[in-house]
Amino acid sequence: MSEKLYNNLLFQSIFLMSFLILVGLLIPNWLVFVITKAIAYGLVGLGIITLMRGGLVSFGQGFVFGIGGYTAGLLGTQAGLTDAMLLLFVSFLFTGLVGLIIAPLLARYRDIFFAMLSLAFSMVLYGILIKIDAIGGSDGFVLPESTYFGIKPSSEYADYVLYVVAIIMTGFISILLRYYYDSTPGLIALAVRENELRVEYLGSSAFNVAVLNFTIAAGLGGMGGALNGIALGHIDPEFTYWTTSGEFVFISILAGYLSVPAVFLAALLLELVRSFSGRYFPDTWQLILGLFLILSIIFIPSGIGSFFKQFFDRLKKSK
């Protein structure tokens, strides 16, 4: 009985979440903040991974990242909605809806064409955002400070509270996604990745799989964008720029599509490399980031997730 409990996904996740929440009390504030940002980026990466499981990679997740961020920001500034959890949730739903609307346009395409068209969508959004002066144009705008159930935490704890909220919401989303990946439709998505023709001849629709996965990816990206905006307190059209989208693809390729926690680890790694190289090599941080990308693609082609999987598989066997 107890053995079963330890191997239960829900139990493991809750254990990990509580551990991270406790750790958040011990680590310095900046790291809490960096982890929160990594979670935001990781959510978008998780979306791309969901797509990757169905054989697609989007090079334009800045599109949904931006929509999520602006949704949260505009609800905050225009509608006075400041509850972080509500903002995250609404952004998730709204961006998911947008994703559902444009998914049929994109779902007909595969490989590089899918990637490029999604990138084009993100650029169109960028073009629109820099044009709308009412929401700050290229400068973006500042978000109001968030509240939680009507309470505004004091500034020393604001970061930590958001961190806790991010961990809990992301934790449960990750669990749901894991269930989805292991469910029959999740498995069919993997099959689409391997051989779309066969899936069609088995009577399932690769198109529907792409639409569903893109919608999920959009929702996750939107939530990531909202979390990023809330954490930083500022959003601008840079959210949707192609360089931002490039980082998301990097996170998901570094993580691989096998493991959910690996995505967040990859996002954290990218955040740390970026911020430390920016801090210690302000003149050449792009060079370092670029080399880091190339080397990790060369040496970990199937992603950190594959290490995770091997590691746990071996543990299981050795038992």
């Binding site: 990990l16 307190g233 911020s275």
Partner: protein, 433 residues
């Protein structure tokens, strides 16, 4: 027990990596004064702005630490404390800068942050600065909205905002008898460009109500190609073309417009036109009216402090200092004065940020560009005297600035409590010229 073992490994690896990072970030000790300096070190704004500004700042900090700066800045460092500067790249957009700012404050635990060229960054940073209670000095950016739309406790701007640049140019055009019956503008499509054009066009309309706006172009920042815009400006046949372009954009615009005769046919005015002169040299067109966003570089006042700074910079880098180094040094001077004033009050201890902020409020200090007064935004926003001139070729064929008209700070800056736009619209009430 396999899950426990997994957890143990995971936990210990996370802990080890965390400790490593915490160790790195706390490695350097904390004795002198730690200053985060944020300026463009990459991207198109680096060469014309970020790098010369930081060159000036680096030199000045070095001389301060050595105690080689003339009075009243002759105390070593900041009130005897050695200054350690941490330069950070400003490129990547406002959102990235908010994060870098948090890193500086929370991870590097800097005592103050000096920075920001981009108006977008200046709009984004202050609210975070107040939230984190981090002393922040904005040294360059121009948008008037920072202290007009909100007020902040820990944020100061040691340079005048952009309204002054455009008001002074409008006044100059009229005083020198230029034809301003029609105007056109080419400004970048973001806060700086839009505000600059609005301030200029409204000022001209106020001073000469009959003048007509022909053409308002707002190309994207860093677009680099202006062929079509130049045609449109020349087709409009406006008498005056105004531009607040800066950096690489301004350089490219000049290079592309000059052979097409724009500068011969129209009176062109650059509200921030001097900082590309060291780079362009004699490719800079003649007869252009320009401001330097203060009395800087070729339009600097003839004071001891300026002569000292001009010479030190020239000796070190081999080019004359344009506005960016002046403005960064101005920020450092303001910060130094505020710190030393706070130390006088608290008996020479290292002051905390509340003490420095209190001392900074309403501060007045001399800079190479003239007297800086923290008068607007309830003592958080500086005003300073201004100068406008016209380019001309001297007898050796070198481009220099002539016909310089100097404006008192109170002549081209609104009084405390009035928004720049409102002040212009009202016809500059209370201007003391």
């Amino acid at each position: 027990m396999n899950f426990f073992r997994q957890c143990l490994i995971l936990i210990s690896s996370i802990l080890i990596s965390l400790l490593t990072f915490v160790g790195i970030s706390n490695a350097d000790g904390h004795k002198g004064f730690k200053l985060g300096v944020v300026t463009f070190l990459s991207g198109p704004a680096a060469e014309p702005f970020g790098v010369p500004a930081w060159n000036g700042g680096k030199l000045f900090i070095k001389l301060l630490n050595e105690g080689k700066v003339p009075a009243p800045y002759n105390k070593k460092g900041f009130g005897g404390m050695k200054i350690t500067a941490i330069p950070i790249d400003e490129s990547g957009g406002a959102t990235k800068q908010v994060q870098e700012f948090r890193n500086l404050v929370q991870r590097d635990k800097v005592d103050a942050v000096l920075g920001y060229v981009s108006s977008g960054d200046c709009m984004a940073i202050p609210s975070v600065a107040d939230e984190l209670k981090a002393l922040t000095v904005l040294y360059d950016c121009g948008t008037p909205r920072v202290f007009e739309d909100a007020s902040y406790k820990y944020v100061f701007r040691t340079a005048a905002h952009a309204a002054m640049d455009n008001i002074a140019i409008a006044k100059y055009l009229i005083e020198k008898g230029h034809d301003i019956s029609s105007i056109a503008g080419i400004n970048q499509n973001y806060a700086w460009g839009k505000d600059s054009w609005k301030d200029f066009s409204v000022s001209v309309k106020k001073l000469s109500p009959s003048s007509e706006i022909k053409n308002e172009l707002f190309p994207k920042i860093f677009s680099g190609q202006y062929g079509t815009e130049i045609s449109a400006l020349m087709n409009s046949k406006a008498k005056v073309v105004h531009s607040s372009l800066w950096g690489g954009d301004l350089q490219s615009f000049i290079l592309q417009a000059k052979p097409r005769g724009l500068f011969k046919r129209t009176q062109v005015v650059f509200s921030a036109g001097d900082h590309v002169m060291p780079g362009l040299g004699n490719k800079y067109p003649e007869g252009v009216i320009l401001g330097a966003r203060g009395q800087y570089g070729m339009m600097a006042p003839d004071t001891e402090l300026n002569k000292w700074f001009y010479k030190s910079y020239m000796d070190e880098y081999g080019v004359f200092p344009a506005q960016p180094p002046y403005r960064m040094v101005q920020g450092l001077m303001g910060l130094k004065m505020a710190i030393e004033k706070a130390m006088e009050k608290n008996g020479g201890k290292k002051p905390n940020k509340d003490e420095i902020a209190a001392a900074f409020k309403g501060l007045e200090f001399d800079s190479p560009g003239g007297l800086v007064q923290m008068k607007l935004g309830d003592g958080h926003q500086a005003i300073q005297p201004h100068a406008i001139g016209t380019t001309v070729k001297d007898k050796d064929g070198n481009i220099t600035v002539t016909d310089i008209v100097r404006y008192k700070a109170s002549c081209v800056n609104p009084p405390n409590g009035i928004k720049a736009v409102d002040w212009i619209n009202a016809g500059f009430p209370g201007a003391d010229c």
